[in-house]
Amino acid sequence: MKSVLRLLLQRLGLGALSLLLVSVVVFTITAVLPGDAAAELLGQDATPETLAALRAQLGLDQPMALRYLHWLGGLLTGDPGRSLVSDAPVMELIGNRLPNSLLLAAVTAAIGVPLALLLGTLAAVFRGSWFDRLLNSGAVALVSVPEFLIATIAVLVLSVKLGWLPALSYASDIDSFSGAVRVFVMPVLTLCCVIVAQMMRMTRAALADQLDAPYIEMARLKGVPPVRLVLGHALPNAIGPIANAIALSTSYLLGGVIVIETIFYYPGVAKLMVDGVSQRDIPLVQTCTMIFCAGYLLLVMVADMIGILANPRLRHAR
């Protein structure tokens, strides 16, 4: 247990390092991209004079490194500064939407992950059967439909044609449980279509690999029933890759749901960041990236830890 703790601390340290690295890279990219916040703000109406004035106002005339350090210093003290293009503090912009994003991700994960695990496990148990084939091709077929198409079809059918659900999922409508259900059905449905396949297929593949192992044979000879065989015996050995697939899929739910946010008008952070990129709003992009990155690192760290905990050989190794 102590070695696990040490590993954990080590990973946290490395995670902080990764964050720093990401922040440098993202800052540099955003800064060297042609066009800056001032130019984006003024657009067609820019004149050299107003551009210069705005740049000075936004602090864009300062050297890059200085601006980065300033931002970093602010971040460390918990204040990532003000957004360049809107005069609101970055924290306020993000704070308004992050809970929504987390909520959507959580709801989707709470439905998608167990579903994927269940389907993947079933497919592995009945591998080679028609059921397995059906499940596999179904998953691939579903994931190969672009998500904007799924989302649009869902709206067309469920909102426009049938009128069952609101076409827009503005999150402040979530005041009652039934209201929340109505708001979340379509975004969650669409996202599940996107993420379930990867987790399911990886679960199946990793489990199927394990189900051929001799220790499974021995477990069968102990009279272990199929469900327990898969969950109790094969799963712990396959959990590493599965956890990673889950981590990858769930991390997508934080920053990758831009299509959902636009089509369903869901007020999350993904759109905030994409806007930030378009507007070259460095502090905003930086802070969003940091949040996504931290979320991602956290998820993969958990996945790695699960992998290590599940494989005792890795715990003390090297």
Partner: protein, 288 residues
């Protein structure tokens, strides 16, 4: 029957199975993939440049003689669009997905086999890469190198390397700790050998499954990358873009959006059928 004769017979049957290769679903998948590859190859010679002139048909015209898939949002012949689009989707996505998986898996195995600081550096590097918003990444690629198809492949590949790496590493670390890998180490085998011969065969099944999915993602990514101005330039369009730009057809019967969507589905399902049926799959078993 004595033992040697018996095993001879057994190996003969495995050989025959291997020659047949993929089984029915796999062969079917392969046929579809090959068919699309052929289309990708010959379409530019086969479909005339004016086949996609705009305003030839009414916008979103339904299927009709000579225009079997109707027209798109600019009244262009949809069949020509889909056939010409095959080149970008099939070739670009296939190459990008293969590259992403190959690079990701190689690095993952390298990390798993080496362990220590190399593993840490590679893993953290991948974490950094995956944390860069893909839009930002695509934009900087266009800004830095302009738009071209090879660049598109590269961008798509780089975006998906870290994902492939993560999955493959999780698989590979488990295998790299096993006795038979230790045996190879005691021989002083190179890392390359350990990766290629000891680890890879025992993780290849899940890795190819991952490849199949990654291919799907790349196909879909292409649509958004080309929207960002990367790679394929109009009138050329990959299938994802065809779906996106004809979304408005959805309520008018929707052939213009359904056709490319089906094309994507047929290709991705075929690729996954092949992946699932790759030979030797059931003979390989991880033993702990």
């Amino acid at each position: 029957m004595n033992a040697p004769a018996a095993s001879n017979a057994a190996s003969a049957t495995t050989r025959r199975k291997r020659a047949l290769g993929l089984g029915v679903p796999g062969t079917l998948g392969l046929l579809v993939v090959v068919a699309w590859l052929l289309v990708a190859l010959v379409a530019p010679w086969w479909v005339s440049a004016s086949a996609q002139d705009i305003g030839v048909l009414p916008v979103f015209a339904p299927a009709q003689a000579g225009h079997w898939l109707g027209a798109d949002y600019l009244g262009r012949d949809m069949l020509a669009r889909v056939l010409l689009g095959a080149r970008y989707t099939v070739a670009v996505a296939l190459v990008a997905a293969l590259a992403a998986s190959a690079i990701g898996t190689c690095l993952a195995m390298l990390a798993a086999v080496s362990g220590g600081w190399l593993d840490a550096v590679l893993s953290r590097g991948m974490d950094t890469l995956i944390s860069i918003p893909s839009k930002l990444f695509a934009l900087i690629m266009v800004a830095a190198f302009g738009a071209s198809v090879p660049l598109l492949v590269l961008t798509a590949a780089v975006i998906y390397v870290p994902g492939a790496y993560r999955i493959a590493r999780a698989l590979a670390v488990n295998v790299a700790a096993l006795d038979y890998v230790v045996v190879a180490r005691t021989r002083g085998e190179s890392r390359w050998y350990l990766m290629r011969h000891e680890v890879l065969p025992n993780i290849i099944a899940p890795v190819t499954v991952d490849l199949g999915l990654r291919f799907v993602y790349v196909v879909l990514l292409l649509a958004s990358l080309s929207f960002l101005g990367l790679g394929v330039q109009p009138p050329a369009a990959d299938w994802g873009t065809l779906v996106r730009e004809n979304l408005g057809a959805l309520w008018e019967g929707g052939l213009a959006v359904v056709a490319p969507a089906l094309a994507i589905a047929s290709l991705t399902m075929a690729v996954n059928l092949v992946v699932d049926a790759l030979p030797g799959r059931d003979a390989r078993k991880a033993v702990h």
